[in-house]
Symmetry: C2
């Protein structure tokens, strides 16, 4: 059936056109510019048309949310270049923070905003997120195997480490760091990562010369 196939293609093209436009508004003009009417205006369609392709606005936000996780995952994979598990975990934290700070709108959408997530029940909708989380857990397992971390429950350690990095990112993005002077902020963040990783590392006082 060539005809229904073409229609499906057109339908999908329209969906991605809407998404790309929404994304562009998001990145270029920031948060509040993403309104159904503005998206429609940018592609020169009526606002009502949007609703032929997305159930509601959160449906659009969720699609961007998924796209964000995809970008995040790809960036995250670059830490695989680092062979030593411990250094890789440290790199992991730094990459996480820099993604968050250089893609604030995305990060907000993915990890902070209420909208995209609230009408979503199925676990499979989280698959892109869980993939990244599993990657972190794998890294932690490697650290445990190599003796950098004690062999505790991986889920607990992963949640703890994730919470730490997410905490920094979200405090900065949502501007709760007034007590830290802006020009010191990035060095405090680096310092915090160093502090945490140095503190977390297993049995560093014993010193069998494990580190290079």
């Amino acid at each position: 059936m060539g005809i229904t196939e073409r229609k499906q293609k057109a339908r999908l093209a329209m969906r991605t056109l809407i998404l790309d436009t929404a994304m562009r508004l998001f990145l270029e003009e920031g948060f509040e510019k993403v309104t159904v009417r503005r998206i429609a205006g940018a592609i020169e369609y009526s606002p009502a048309t949007i609703y032929l392709y997305f159930r509601d606005k959160n449906d659009i936000l969720f699609a961007l949310h998924a796209e964000g996780f995809d970008r995040f995952y790809r960036l995250q994979q670059t830490v695989l270049q680092v062979k030593d598990p411990w250094e890789r975990l440290r790199m992991h934290a730094r990459v996480y923070i820099s993604f968050a700070l250089e893609n604030r709108e995305y990060y907000d959408l993915m990890f902070i905003m209420r909208g995209p997530v609230e009408k979503l029940k199925a676990a499979r909708d989280w698959s892109v997120g869980i993939r990244s989380y599993d990657f972190l857990k794998e890294n932690i397992r490697d650290c445990m195997a190599a003796g950098y971390l004690p062999k505790t429950e991986v889920d607990v350690a992963a949640f703890a480490i994730w919470s730490f990095t997410h905490g920094m990112a979200s405090l900065i993005i949502r501007q709760r760091c007034a007590m830290i002077s802006p020009d010191l902020l990035s060095s405090v963040v680096d310092g915090a990562i160093d502090f945490m990783t140095a503190r977390i590392e297993k049995g560093k006082m014993i010193g069998k010369g494990r580190r290079k």
Copy 2:
């Protein structure tokens, strides 16, 4: 001047009436019920009246924000009962999390929401928040003095620890913990606190019997 004094009192009474009502809507019916019109309706005034007492909606949110910090600070002080600095710091983390999870709307307002904070520049508007932060720093200093933590920069350590607890709280409140089964969540949180504090503690492998 008895007359202007009475007027000032009436004015303040109206302000607190509005705030209390906004607060009640917040706590009883959750987030989205706090609208200027609904607040006005609840106290049986016109919406326009609200604007005689608050510049805009964020002005109201900010007042609640401040009230939240006050509650938070008072709860936080209870950790002073714990004499040992290290145990006090651990208690600090647990108290932080339980405040966040038992007062989600408040916590959201204080540490996550964009609204209350965005039109606020003056440092003194943060004073209630900074007071709590200073309290944490004091605790960390005590831990360093007692040898539980290395003597690094207090600001860095405080930011790191705060980020960790805030990270957990905000991930849970904004529902980003789909990968952790809900009935395990609280034990994972406890586990994460244990993991972090156990890992963070200075020189625990040397064991000079410092701990009781």
